[in-house]
């Protein structure tokens, strides 16, 4: 039920982000959503794309350091307190969120959040048992 995300190490240098996105564009890889975590020296670009393997291969060929991470996509009711409800459930089970960001597209009436948990499988079990809708990768890549 998890989703594959690729992470890329990027130095804080002029034009690096443009280069990554250009390489992916030229290879016909479509970015579904992204987040950029940054420090003063470097950033980590996290991407969910329609073709993870291809994205990884073309970026590695161009000398980038790339890794694959498992994240979880969850539907969240688009109303006040929607996110708080989910976090509360996770908190009760002692699951930590390492980072999270929003998916660009909506899923019907609901928003979609991407989570990186310290314990991915346990998080999925907790969420599904509490009737949260965890979206599988193939659904997300083609949304």
């Amino acid at each position: 039920m998890h989703v594959e995300q690729i992470s890329i190490f990027i130095e804080n240098k002029f034009g690096r982000l443009a280069e990554v996105t250009r390489i992916l564009g030229d290879a016909g890889v479509n970015i579904r959503t992204l987040s950029l975590a940054d420090t003063s020296d470097f950033g980590i670009l996290r991407l969910i794309v329609n073709d993870t393997e291809k994205a990884r291969t073309v970026l590695k060929e161009r000398g980038f350091t790339v890794s694959k991470t498992e994240v979880v996509a969850v539907e969240i009711p688009d109303r006040p307190g929607g996110l708080a409800d989910i976090l509360q459930v996770l908190d009760a089970d002692g699951i930590n969120v390492e980072y999270m960001y929003a998916f660009v597209e909506r899923c019907g009436e609901n928003a979609v959040m991407i989570f990186r948990f310290d314990e991915t499988q346990k998080a999925i079990t907790t969420l599904t048992s509490k009737n949260f809708n965890v979206l599988p990768g193939n659904r997300l890549y083609s949304m």
């Binding site: 190490f9 990027i10 420090t39 350091t65 890794s67």
Partner: protein, 434 residues
């Protein structure tokens, strides 16, 4: 296995008697034929006849690199130009290069010492030596080449550069021995990996690496990546070229310096006092058989220590420790002496760190700053910022604890540090440029 068993295993007493005899003869030659030494020896009040024991060496004057520059190009030569058959010169990054001349006999001696060095490293007749040291004014290429031929091995005169072709030749020609700088060997390993070639499939058995200081940790890394036995060689053009000293493959603990041709001393570079066995200081070498350009107590600026303890290989010649660096490579950062090799040793001790790094020294508001750039490869990368920051902090802490200097580690993208096909440039010192 020895190339010249008699001389390589000469009992210390006989070796020292030979050194004294040769020292006296050399001093007698230069006091006649080199005006620079005639004057320097007269000033020091020493004549060849007054040298009674090896202890008297300490009465002789030093020769500095500057003396060689001042004698540019031929003023230190001890024989007429018609007896010089080869001329080499050092790279001369600052000012004029230093020029050295060899007589026919000098070339023979060099070839023998290089052949001895190959044997000590575990190389023998029948080996195919892939020589990637640069051919030209630099002594590395031709020095190793003549030694290989003298040994009777097959030598491939590759010189440096064109890495893809180097790898193809190594693969197709079945090279069993590689000679180059340690940093270039790693560059080749990296390039081969990109081509999908595994060094473990090559026939390489021995690597002879020199011309720049490297660490024990780097040796382990090279041996793992290139699947060969890595041996440290030492030499400098002023004294001869490669093959002044070499590790034996049996011990790999210190480099045997060929004492029947060179007399080594370790001195305190500031007070010039000769230091006892085991203490770190500057290596000073006197050439006792050289004809073209004999040097008395040449200040190498290389930092090492010496031991006369018997070695398991059976050679009686003293061993100098792996070079810690050059006294002129030494960085003084806020008053603390730091050698790039010390930082390298710390970096290589951190799991996943690649042997590519660069040190950038700057002065901000009258304070020195040191930045250590480390490449983030797959083994180091984490998708979480906190892990990468913890890594930087860990390296910074170790450098602070072990060397006493505060530094800032900057993580950079792979391949962003310039690779070298010759000597690696590890330090960018911007302090005197502003």
């Amino acid at each position: 296995m020895f190339f010249n068993e008699e001389f390589e295993t000469l009992p210390r007493e006989a070796l020292e008697a030979l050194q004294l005899k040769r020292l006296k003869a050399m001093v007698a030659r230069v006091e006649k034929s080199v005006p620079f030494y005639k004057e320097a020896l007269a000033k020091a009040g020493v004549t060849a006849d007054s040298i009674q024991s090896l202890k008297d060496l300490q009465r002789l004057p030093f020769t500095y690199k500057q003396d060689m520059r001042d004698s540019y190009p031929y003023n230190l030569f001890a024989v007429p130009m018609e007896d010089i058959v080869r001329i080499h010169a050092s790279s001369g990054t600052t000012g004029k290069p230093t020029v050295v001349g060899y007589t026919k006999k000098d070339i023979e001696t060099w070839s023998e010492l290089m052949a001895r060095s190959f044997m000590a490293a575990g190389v023998h007749k029948g080996d195919i030596i892939h020589n990637s040291y640069g051919y030209g004014l630099f002594t590395g290429g031709l020095g190793a080449h003549y030694g290989a031929e003298r040994l009777g091995a097959s030598v491939i005169p590759m010189s440096g550069g064109n890495t893809k072709k180097q790898i193809m030749i190594m693969q197709d020609f079945g090279s069993t021995v590689l000679t180059c700088t340690p940093s270039y060997s790693l560059f080749m390993a990296e390039a081969a990996k990109e081509e999908g070639i595994d060094f473990r499939d090559l026939k390489l058995r021995v690597g002879i690496f020199g011309a720049e200081p490297w660490s024990e940790e780097m040796r382990r890394d090279i041996e793992g990546k290139l699947n060969l036995s890595a041996v440290d060689i030492y030499g400098l053009s002023e004294i001869m070229g490669p093959g002044v000293a070499i590790e034996c493959c049996q011990a790999k603990k210190g480099l045997h310096i060929w004492e029947d041709h060179f007399i080594p001393e370790i001195i305190n570079p500031e007070t010039c006092e000769v230091l006892p066995e085991g203490q770190m200081g500057e290596l000073v070498i006197t050439t006792i058989t050289k004809e073209g350009i004999p040097l008395i107590r040449y200040r190498t600026r290389d930092i090492t220590s010496i031991t006369y303890e018997p070695c398991v290989c059976g050679r009686t010649h003293a061993r100098i420790a792996r070079m810690s660096g050059r006294s002129d490579d030494m960085l003084i950062i806020r008053g603390v002496n730091v050698f790039p090799s010390q930082i390298e040793a710390i970096l290589m001790g951190v799991e996943g760190v690649e042997p590519h790094y660069v040190l950038i020294v700057e002065r901000k508001d009258n304070l020195d700053t040191l930045e250590v750039q480390v490449e983030v490869g797959e083994n180091l990368f984490s998708d979480e910022i906190k892990h990468l920051q913890a890594l930087s902090a860990k390296i910074e802490k170790q450098i602070k604890e072990m060397l006493g200097v505060t530094c800032r580690v900057r993580l950079v993208e792979p391949k962003s540090i310039t690779r070298s096909e010759g000597k690696a440039k590890r330090v960018i010192d911007n302090r005197n440029k502003a």
